[in-house]
């Protein structure tokens, strides 16, 4: 069952009503792979994994959802580079990833289960509506795979954590690390290519402007 089901149905119903009354249908979604609800949930999750503080935004504020949306829409999202021939077998830990699930499937299912869990456990509320302490508790249980969560949720958490951190430190070109916030947090100057003047200046703060790659040109 798709987690986007109810939302999409209501959207469609709304647009059907709208066209019945001659109003314009809602604008197309800016998301290429996620639904708007999934994107909102991801942003909230990301802002707990790397929370905002007075100086630096959280990962969600910095664009984690946009990053993950772009990644899922790319070949990576469907594991295009993986060897995917059967038979699949669980394998030993040292034999690595042996699952046929793609990142798109993992996110769809993981976000759906999380949404369902919150609705059931927290009186119909969404994750975004919970207070931060409760959000962290949910995340902690996901991370441990503690009941009612299990091995799949643990896998989903690891995927999420890795991708949120990646979004925070990848070039802003990819949708996250907005304003190079992640790089400013840690002091990584970014997509620069010449430190010859600084190699021998041991221990000094490298005083160069933060820089990102050129964003794609709008033709």
């Amino acid at each position: 069952m798709s987690s986007a089901g109810p939302t999409r149905r209501s959207l469609l119903a709304a647009s059907a009503l709208a066209s019945l009354f001659g109003c314009a249908s809602p604008p197309p979604s800016p998301w290429r792979s996620l639904t708007p609800d999934e994107a909102a949930l991801l942003a909230a999750l990301a802002d707990r994994l790397i929370p905002p503080d007075p100086e630096f935004p959280g990962a969600g504020e910095a664009g984690a959802a946009a990053f993950i949306d772009g990644a899922l829409a790319s070949p990576w999202g469907v594991s295009a580079d993986d060897y995917r021939a059967p038979p699949f077998a669980p394998g030993l830990p040292g034999q690595g990833w042996q699952s046929p699930f793609t990142p798109r499937e993992i996110y769809r299912e993981g976000l759906a289960r999380l949404t369902r869990h919150c609705r059931l456990a927290y009186a119909g509320r969404r994750f975004e509506e919970l207070p931060p302490a409760l959000q962290d508790e949910v995340l902690g249980r996901l991370e441990r795979g503690a009941p009612p969560f299990g091995p799949f949720e643990r896998l989903f958490f690891e995927r999420l954590r890795e991708d949120v951190i990646t979004s925070y430190f990848a070039d802003p070109l990819y949708g996250g690390n907005r304003g190079m916030a992640g790089w400013r947090l840690i002091g990584f100057p970014g997509a620069r290519y010449d430190y010859r003047a600084w190699v021998a200046r041991h221990g000094e703060a490298v005083d160069v402007p933060y820089a990102a790659l050129p964003s794609p040109r709008e033709v």
């Binding site: 620069r192 290519y193 010449d194 003047a197 402007p209 820089a211 050129p214 040109r217």
Partner: protein, 406 residues
Amino acid sequence: MAPRAAGSALGALLGLALLALLPPRTAARAGDAGEAARGAYLARLADCGGCHTPPGGAPLSGGRRIPTPFGTVTAPNLTPDPETGLGRWSWQDFDAALRFGRRPDGLPLYPVHPYPYFARLDETASRELWAYLRTVPPAVQPVRGAALRFPFDLRLLVAFWNVLYFRPDPFRPDPAHDAVWNRGAFLVEGPGHCGACHTPKTALGGDRPPFLGGGEVEGWTAPPLDGDPATGLGGWRVEDIEAFLATGTDGRHLASGPMAEVVMQATSRFRPEDRHAIAVYLKSLPPSSPHPLTPPPPPPASGAALYALRCAPCHGEGGEGVPNLFPALRGNAAVAGAPASLLRILLFGARAAATPARPTGPAMPPVGAALPDEEVAAIASYVRARFGGAGPVSGEDVASLRVRGP
């Protein structure tokens, strides 16, 4: 008539008829090998292949399309093929075309063929070139007529052009200079036809002064070859010019665009003494335009940060480059002179000449392709101001070149 006399007269007639049916004689006499060899070297000096050899095709077989501001001309087949080449031509036919721009049917050739320069050759040189051409393997390559735009396709107008721009005078040495200088002058003004690219042109495509004062070809700036310190060869030494012609680089500048081909196909194969003569001659030319007295404009601030980030890793913080690999921007005519080459290189990239002595053939990636027009303009303006003392370029200049394409 006595039977024997009639027979021999008939025999003679038959012999002549037979001779007429035979294919044109190729050089078979003892002295001819030397003549053809001298002609081969002249062909290298004149870089006939530059226009007349199609890429990857048979030598001098024509078919190569040459863009001009007036339309496209297709270079003829110079091989001895009787149907599609010069197989049925005589030396006189060839000489008229080579040095005087006249076809065997009497119509003029378009001055895309640089006969105003080849007119500096003398008759001996013309015969040597002809002897060489007869030794080139015949290649069948039919060549369509020219496709110049109206009214430039009217050949009779060329006669009018010739009145304005054609001086059929062979080269005369200047007694005020030595043999080396005169050899260089002959090579540059004659077979080398450097002015065909490096001399500014009128609207009709004829040379206008100053001689070797700079031009533009196929969208590239052909810098002045005079003594201007910023835009010309004023900052070069004789040995720098020689190295550039021999290897494609003098350490600080790299030949790219159409000049890369000239170096690879022609000048790198000249005799060293001829490259030296050319260098000596060029270095003797005074600066043609006075250096501007107004101070150079200040480099735009935005350009400085962009330069430091995108360009300095290769071209250096001070624009010094890396010898033979990344051109120096400081003192570089492509930076200080007309901006066509600079913008083209930024937007479309370029590959420099690769010669046996300097095989690297460094390539500049099309860095500007990924950047917005304003950033490309800022970088170009910064580089021109800081390293060339030259004026800025605008985002519109960049945008229009981007649209025009390489």
